[in-house]
Symmetry: C2
Subunit: 143 residues, 2 copies
Amino acid sequence: MLSAACKESIRAMIYIAHAGGDKKIIPVKEVAEKLETSFYFLAKNVQKLVKAGLLFSYKGPKGGVKLAKSPEEIKLIDIVEAIDGLEFFETCLLGFKECSDEHPCAIHHKWADKRKAIYKLFSETSLKDVVEDMEKNCLQIIF
Amino acid sequence: MLSAACKESIRAMIYIAHAGGDKKIIPVKEVAEKLETSFYFLAKNVQKLVKAGLLFSYKGPKGGVKLAKSPEEIKLIDIVEAIDGLEFFETCLLGFKECSDEHPCAIHHKWADKRKAIYKLFSETSLKDVVEDMEKNCLQIIF
DNA sequence: TATATTTAAGATTAAGGAGTCTTAATTCTT
DNA sequence: AAGAATTAAGACTCCTTAATCTTAAATATA
Ligand code: SF4
Ligand code: SF4
């Protein structure tokens, strides 16, 4: 459902929120090392997050990125939208061309319910929620 | 969430169930024409459905495919499993490596709920359900 | 039996996304 | 001012999946 780039971006945002919040500047290189991933690939996705207004970036020595808003203002859906887009929440499950709410198939309404529930979950869950929870429960696993 | 091949396979199964059920043999060529899709691509996926035991196939003139079971016995999840596999229902949403039910992150349990609900929907919805509903509501759109 | 029709299977090509690299721009430090 | 560090941007390669083609196998029909 979420692309590899999107999952990694979420993990990156979690790390940035954890390590720097919207105060401290964190170099992308540090994030890549902590997440044990490719700097190049991560940097590409971070650029998108900057363009989407979720991160501020700073060049030069002591440069890096930090959250553009407070952790509770950044919802998971914002990251998903920036990297993967919202197509998942908008397209027909079965791929018919001209179906719509007016001509629903057997699965349409039920599927729409599930999709909405997921959208709601992503819209209601903030970086703060995730970070706080992970700091309690499973931080050592990731960082 | 579902690959293009999977969506098309579901549409194909709907057509086969509608036009032939588990009685009449339908040529794949006819299915491709009705769905306005590539015969080659569809034939590839149909092969998987045959191997998965969802379709019987018959070579030669008057050959084609028909459902291997009654429409109510074939669930959408069977088609998804045959084409895309069940990875979607088994993997971590955020892509962490070593997380588990024992070390759940903030979103784990909520996400697991949503995923289970979708799995349930796919497991409970049979081809018969979809076909009957579409025959009532929006058949003209597809066939 | 010969021919036409249809699926099976594998090879091939095309497209898109994942992942990497190179160069440019910016800015801190000396 | 010079050099080092860091992100920005675009080009590039690689891999997976989508899509197509070719040949083989099976079978109905004449
Ligand atoms: S009614 Fe069914 S086929 Fe039509 S758009 Fe909704 S899910 Fe898709
Ligand atoms: S706890 Fe969170 S990070 Fe861990 S497997 Fe579940 S969803 Fe993924």
